[in-house]
């Protein structure tokens, strides 16, 4: 897991520098590492908050468990401008097509985090009207269990997303594996 180690003279922690060749006035490293570092510290989430987990998300965004320190200061409600789709709360079957549409409108690269037991697997609502897990309709990257999960757990999930973002290959979204996975869900 990424740790912040370099402290500048003013005491502000900076991100860890990737390996590379350094010289007078230049620093050479691989593009993937730089892009990963930049992306991971500036994720713009789309909060898809439906029920009780949404209130815990509001607490996570609040001053006590500040999510903005991880780079998610600006919440984007427009799918086109968002990187991370945070699905928080129960998704009923009536809501499924809406969630699918929002996911399809997001531009690549996009990640999905499923917060709460209801979004992961239907939770305590094993009923005719609740979708038993959002991974039936969209691919999910990180699952955060809990009913509702504590803000620390949500932040842990975000940190795991950050790890995925940092270590993702630049060619992943064009690869055949990824296309096959999307085809399994019926997404073009």
């Amino acid at each position: 897991m990424e740790t912040v180690t370099n402290h500048s003279a003013s005491g502000i922690a900076m991100a860890e520098r990737p390996d590379g060749l350094e010289g007078a006035g230049f620093f050479a490293t691989s593009l993937e590492k730089v892009v990963g570092l930049a992306r991971k510290n500036s994720i713009w989430p789309l909060p898809f908050a439906t029920s009780c987990c949404g209130i815990e998300f509001m607490a996570t965004m609040g001053a006590h468990y500040d999510l903005a320190r991880f780079g998610s200061e600006r919440l984007s409600f427009s799918p086109r401008q968002a990187d991370l789709l945070m699905v928080m709360g129960t998704i009923a079957k009536k809501m499924g097509p809406v969630l699918r549409q929002v996911y399809e409108q997001m531009a690549e690269p996009r990640w999905v985090i499923s917060v709460g037991a209801c979004a992961c697997s239907g939770g305590i609502f094993d009923t005719y009207s609740v979708l038993q897990g959002i991974d039936r309709i969209i691919p999910v990257d990180v699952y955060v269990p809990g009913c509702p999960p504590r803000p620390e757990q949500i932040i842990d999930g975000i940190m795991k997303i950050q790890h995925l973002v940092e270590t993702e290959s630049l060619r992943r979204r064009d690869s055949n594996e990824y296309k096959e996975m999307l085809n399994k869900y019926g997404i073009e």
């Binding site: 898809f48 439906t50 029920s51 009780c52 209130i55 815990e56 509001m58 607490a59 609040g62 001053a63 006590h64 919440l75 409600f77 709360g89 129960t90 009923a92 009536k94 809501m95 809406v98 929002v102 305590i124 609502f125 009923t127 005719y128 009207s129 609740v130 009913c147 509702p148 504590r150």
Partner: protein
């Protein structure tokens, strides 16, 4: 729903100058998941067609499958901003069915918890009214105060939001000294911050211009739509279940019911603000007058016996087994009990046929009933006023759809 075949089309004339705006299920300003299809003439709203059910979780059907003490987590998720009120209301319904007498100490402790929950519910609503007018600072202050109440809940029952607090018959343990410390800390710190929040918005010229005479409803229409709670009190009718049909020793406490005049957004904001002050006063009175006594009633069908007896006494062992497996006997009957929730009269209509699960459980959800009036309230107003009206009505999606 096909937008071109909306039933509203049959009532309006066939003029195509109206534009249709979909205030869709996912929208940053609708706090919750419900859809409104608005027919607009520029910025003015001509008509609205709400669609709900996007988070329908079938609570009433789910309750027919679960034993009585396993239904409490379901009631948590009705109005999840003030979950303890729902839990305690459900426990009181079952106690009414069984005919159990609850000790005074339990009733006073329940009052303390319910008033704390009411404060948190009104905090969110007022903070969100501020956010929708553009005042984001109040939201951050209020959520910090909610953290203090979450810590109190954690000391008492272990959970922050969906509390599942108490048991049928009382509480599983008495409040620890640490819980009392946290309650006292809340009672000293919170009034200062509440006063600060009030000073930000109450006499703020911009806020008053945006909220006075916006989204109003008259008292007669409100009664016809079966409004209850702060929305009805803002319209001028002083109906509060805590005073009309006192439960859990509310008659021992001295508090006033704030009532508005116009029923507009400003009145609702002020009614909720004043109710928070009244709730603080009730909590202080309850702490001062708290009697000693047992922290639970004797309900052998649902209250787990103490562990020493379970290991030594055959009868207690059998009861422990039956309660955990949900096989206890309940009398047949039909009972209705209501409590004053954060949004109004929250009612539980329970029919028991003597089995281990209810035969029929119907929740009288105040949000569901008063949201019907929303199209009427926003007719003729502008889009931002419609957003403000919706957030001032405190529509919680969990209670709307159940």
């Amino acid at each position: 729903m096909n937008l071109n075949e909306s039933p509203i089309d049959q009532i309006l004339p066939e003029e195509k100058q109206y534009s249709t705006l979909n205030l869709g299920p996912t929208h940053p300003a609708t706090h919750g998941i419900f859809q409104n299809v608005l027919k607009m003439d520029g910025e003015i709203i001509i008509s609205a067609e709400p669609t709900i059910g996007y988070i329908h979780r079938a609570f009433e059907k789910l309750a027919e499958r679960r034993p009585y003490n396993q239904i409490t987590p379901i009631t948590d998720r009705l109005n999840y901003c003030s979950a303890p009120i729902n839990n305690i209301g459900w426990h009181m319904t079952v106690e009414k069915l069984l005919g159990v007498e609850i000790p005074k100490r339990v009733q006073y402790l329940r009052v303390i918890i319910m008033e704390l929950a009411r404060i948190t519910d009104h905090l969110i609503c007022n903070a969100v009214i501020g956010v929708d007018t553009g005042a984001l600072t109040g939201f951050v202050y209020m959520f910090q105060q909610r953290e203090l109440v979450y810590e109190i809940y954690e000391e008492i029952c272990g959970a922050r939001l969906t509390t599942n607090i108490g048991r049928i018959g009382g509480f599983e343990r008495d409040f620890s000294p640490k819980a009392w410390d946290k309650i006292h800390k809340f009672l000293t710190e919170f009034p200062v911050i509440l006063k600060e929040f009030e000073n930000l918005l109450e006499r703020n010229r911009i806020f008053m211009d945006r909220t006075i005479k916006v989204g109003g409803i008259t008292a007669e229409r409100a009664l016809n739509y079966s409004f209850s709670g702060p929305n009805l009190r803002a319209a001028g009718v002083d109906y509060d279940v805590r005073v009309a049909k006192p439960y859990s020793s509310y008659e021992d406490f001295d508090f006033i019911i704030p009532v508005g005049t116009n029923g507009d957004v400003y009145d609702r904001f002020m009614v909720r603000q004043e109710e928070m002050w009244q709730s603080l006063s009730i909590i202080k009175q309850a702490i001062k007058k708290l009697p000693d006594g047992p922290y639970h009633a004797d309900v052998p069908e649902f209250y787990l016996p103490p562990k020493e007896e379970v290991y030594n006494n055959m009868e207690a062992l059998i009861y422990q087994f039956k309660i955990v497996m949900g096989e206890t006997d309940v009398p047949k009957g039909e009972v209705y009990h209501c409590v004053e929730g954060g949004n109004g009269e929250l009612g539980f209509y329970l029919i028991s046929d003597g089995g281990r699960t209810p035969f029929r459980l119907h929740f009288r959800r105040p949000c569901f009933i008063y949201y019907q009036a929303y199209p009427e309230m926003i007719k003729g107003s502008m889009l931002s006023d419609a957003i403000l009206t919706m957030s001032s009505m405190n529509v919680i999606a969990g209670e709307l759809d159940a």
